[in-house]
Symmetry: C2
Subunit: 391 residues, 2 copies
Amino acid sequence: MPHRKEPGSVGVVKKKQFTCCEPPHELELEGGGRLGPITIAYETYGRLNKDRTNALLILHALSGDAHAAGKYFAEDAKPGWWDNTIGPGKAFDTDKFYVICSNVIGGCQGSTGPSSIHPATGKPFALSFPIVTVNDMVRAQARLVDHLGIERLFAVAGGSMGGMQALQWAVSYPDRVLASIPIATTAKHSPQQIAFNQVGRAAIMADPNFADGEYYGREVPKDGLALARMVGHITYLSDDSMHEKFGRRLRGKKTLGYSFNLDFEVETYLRYKGDAFVSRFDANSYLYITKAIDYFDLSLPSGSLVKALEKVRSKFLVISFKSDWLYPPYQSKEIVKALMVNGVDITYCEIDSRYGHDAFLLDAGEMSKIIRNFLENVAVRNGIAFPAAGA
Amino acid sequence: MPHRKEPGSVGVVKKKQFTCCEPPHELELEGGGRLGPITIAYETYGRLNKDRTNALLILHALSGDAHAAGKYFAEDAKPGWWDNTIGPGKAFDTDKFYVICSNVIGGCQGSTGPSSIHPATGKPFALSFPIVTVNDMVRAQARLVDHLGIERLFAVAGGSMGGMQALQWAVSYPDRVLASIPIATTAKHSPQQIAFNQVGRAAIMADPNFADGEYYGREVPKDGLALARMVGHITYLSDDSMHEKFGRRLRGKKTLGYSFNLDFEVETYLRYKGDAFVSRFDANSYLYITKAIDYFDLSLPSGSLVKALEKVRSKFLVISFKSDWLYPPYQSKEIVKALMVNGVDITYCEIDSRYGHDAFLLDAGEMSKIIRNFLENVAVRNGIAFPAAGA
């Protein structure tokens, strides 16, 4: 066993950007059309080894970004979104691995998306941005991985939409991924998942400030985007965790208000989360990214997930959470079964967390150990050399 | 065993109205304030026996009304909302029982609510309508039952919000209810249930046509109300039933559209249901009624459901549905336990339906038989005389 020090932080980090697909070499998109130039925001933590074989690609969820770990300045109160799993001694151990986190195209956190300037018009794309799919996101990331000089990734890992990308990587680039870790995800969006996303999109589009997406430089469709986020948050929490976190507790008073003001703590929480989201996320990106995950169906075009996974060569660790009703364990089990039919080396774990879908972000304890052990085993079996400690 | 003919329809029925609580005898409301005059829309099916002991009170859910059974004219394509359980030979057998269905106050289907004319101003109440609670709804219904000359109801029964009223009847009027049948309901709204309702209310209030509720005679907040209903419909269906009903089937095309048009059948369905709701329901009533059920907590003020139920004298049949994740079986079991602690004669059944919360409306097969048997047993044990067949 390697020496284990107290898990730490990657410290102060910087967002980087990479641009590719300059015309006439645009990315051909799955839904038709071409996109280029493409800028991708990304961050890296840890060091690449000499063989360039210790790179992990971390893939984010719907509202995530490239800032997965560390802080932007010493007093930064809010670390990256997966800081509890990425760092020295953590699940994705930056003493051993070179960790890359790439923002998705279609997003609004430094990568090309609907809020980017259209080179031909000098104005934001808005809804003239082409529809992108999870497959397109992954193909754009592959350019970034090329750029970083990495032939084969040690592992790809992510939760929710990040898990879809992890699956897509293993399918699209079977020779470029040694291990894949899809967490709290699905091989295809269910009608219920589509329905919740549709409500979010409908709320944005019904907001009079939406103006067919042409709201840049004006008031944004904040009510619609906040509503979309409120619906989202309900689906990320479990019934159990809501009982625990809020119950029927009242906000700032002892008796029911008998009015339409917010009475319950759960109402205040959702309202706050909805409003806060507006300041950091673009409504058009919300439309594009939810559409990408609604379109996600790995079994297309054959209709068979087993067939879709037959070229996979990576090892797999699939993780689900018992109380996750948005991406329920049965969806992970469908992936597991199809991989096993194909003889893939697969490990599956359903973690008994109460945190619902959010568990992959919040409840890192057991998940971290499972990921860490899995990565260590894959490294040992493949003779991967890590950078010398403290070097 | 009584002779059983093929279950039939109650035929053509009429909505009736009853007015009470004329000033200065207004109804004192739980949340403060007074309401009167109060008009209640109701319907009745079957005949009252000589002893006036065979009356059933049917209680409706959030968007229901007094029209529980039969048709308004011979060619009417749409019967009442519980026509599969109410009629000659059905669960609530109109050959035996005098069935009353009363619309709730705060509603918009013929009873006094926010769209009613405020006697003092000659204009609709809108948000000047007072907050009403489930307890207030039940106390208004008691006036209707008085008016019909019924001292004690044979049974009260309803699903969802109707189940809350059935519980409240047994608590508020222990001597006036022989049996209570709360279905797919809860003794108190959970934070998740409150959260979904809050999203609906927020959607209505964010609609620019809402105009602080003063939209009568103008364009109504149709986008907001449709959104609220779309969210509602997702929670009424189970994940399973959505797979069965929609899967990922596309609407009117064979391949994904790669646009923001509606692609999937589930999207078209929700959009249709949302839009259709706008033509039959008032947005302000949606606010008032969701608030009433969010406030519902039978354990107040003592904090103990056992204590709240200690004066109950009726028999109970509690029914839940396995796939109902909006009002999950554990909430029914909490009611059952608290009743059993109080020594109440209680029968509980969790029905293995795939239809989610909607099961109480759609999946009447086993539920109907269970209700029918329960009512027969109560009748026999209490020596209730039914009207002579065919008389």
